[in-house]
């Protein structure tokens, strides 16, 4: 019986892999799981030599900030 948490084909996109493997039911759930599992990588990136622009554009950081507390311009009312 195949393991539901391991996709048989990897897509190269960790969020898609979590969905395809059945580890998450929705994109939001997959993104949350991915971020929670990679906080150490976030901290490592904070200490890296990336420029501010590169740091902000890194997929993990972009996802973290997009799913975190909303910035002023995204807020309602």
């Amino acid at each position: 019986m195949p393991c539901v948490s391991e996709p048989t084909v990897r897509t190269g996109d960790p969020i898609a892999d979590l969905l395809q493997g059945g580890a998450a039911r929705t994109v939001a759930e997959a993104e949350e799981a991915y971020l929670d599992a990679h906080l150490d990588d976030v901290i490592a990136l904070v200490g890296s030599s990336l420029s501010d622009e590169e740091f902000r554009a890194h997929p993990l950081i972009a996802l973290l900030l997009a799913r975190g507390s909303r910035p002023w311009e995204d807020s309602t009312g």
């Binding site: 906080l39 976030v42 901290i43 904070v46 900030l65 975190g68 507390s69 909303r70 002023w72 807020s75």
Partner: protein
């Protein structure tokens, strides 16, 4: 007092609270109706109250609820911690779901009733005046194992920060929106941040303030990974930078994870006691 059926849920809540106060039971509204009171638009089918009752009076809560003029006799439901929490089905919604009245006497997320009462917020709701948990206490009460409570927290934090900033307070900032408004208003100077730091308690608030105070701040009272972030990387990043905001979100996630685990542990302990 008339019957409590045929009213909107908000008006029904007003009548329920009035009926309780008439029996000299002090209570504060929490849960979904409190979330709605503070401005978050969301549905709720439960009435949640925290009550000030001795163990003896808590034991006769069923009699008190039974004396209220609901459309049908309330039915007490199961509770995994009957010494602290009791729930009653008091009616049925048009879609067939049960309408529930739930009572907390205490739990690990609620301060003693006298403190909650001191910090309560009274306001218009459902055509009457009700006393709700203060916003900080409501936020704390939502730090449970349930994801849906954390969605409420996300929205309530923005409202909480609006209130705090109107009062010129930066010691309890919780949202990025509040943080950015505080920065834009020039409230985050180092002297102000230092003062705020000495009063701040919540890890997210400490994380927003930390880069402004740097090494001048005392060692945080938090422990483990949170303390390491606060006394390490957060002292070194530029205030308001993407690195700062990323670390705040890391702190938020770590705090949520710890709070969810603490709530699960509390529920397990309560279940073992019953």
């Amino acid at each position: 007092m008339g019957r409590l059926d045929g009213l909107s849920p908000e008006s029904r809540l007003v009548q329920i609270v009035a009926a309780f106060r008439a029996t000299r039971v002090e209570c504060l509204v929490l849960g979904g109706h409190a979330v709605r009171f503070y401005g978050v638009s969301r549905n709720t089918i439960d009435y949640d109250l925290v009550v000030s009752l001795s163990a003896e009076d808590w034991a006769r809560l069923g009699d008190i609820v039974g004396s209220l003029p609901f459309g049908r006799a309330p039915v007490e439901g199961p509770s995994w911690r009957p010494a602290d929490f009791r729930r009653f089905t008091i009616g049925q919604l048009p879609d067939g779901r049960d309408e529930r009245l739930e009572f907390w006497r205490k739990n690990h997320l609620l301060a003693p009733f006298a403190d909650l009462s001191d910090r309560r917020c009274e306001g218009s709701y459902g055509g009457g005046t009700l006393a709700f948990l203060g916003l900080s206490d409501l936020l704390r009460s939502k730090e449970t194992e349930r994801e849906s409570d954390w969605l409420d927290i996300t929205l309530l934090e923005e409202i909480h920060d609006e209130h705090a900033l109107r009062a010129g307070r930066i010691d309890d900032l919780r949202s990025r929106r509040g943080f950015e408004r505080a920065a834009e208003a020039g409230l985050l100077t180092q002297p102000a941040a230092l003062q705020a730091w000495s009063r701040a308690e919540h890890p997210v608030s400490l994380a927003y303030l930390q880069p402004y105070v740097g090494a001048a701040s005392a060692t945080p009272t938090t422990t483990g990974a949170l303390a390491e972030l606060l006394s390490g990387p957060l002292r070194a990043v530029d205030p308001g930078s993407a690195r700062h905001l990323a670390l705040v979100e890391a702190v938020r996630r770590l705090h949520k994870r710890q709070a969810m685990e603490a709530d699960r542990a509390d529920k397990r302990a309560a279940s073992r006691r019953t």
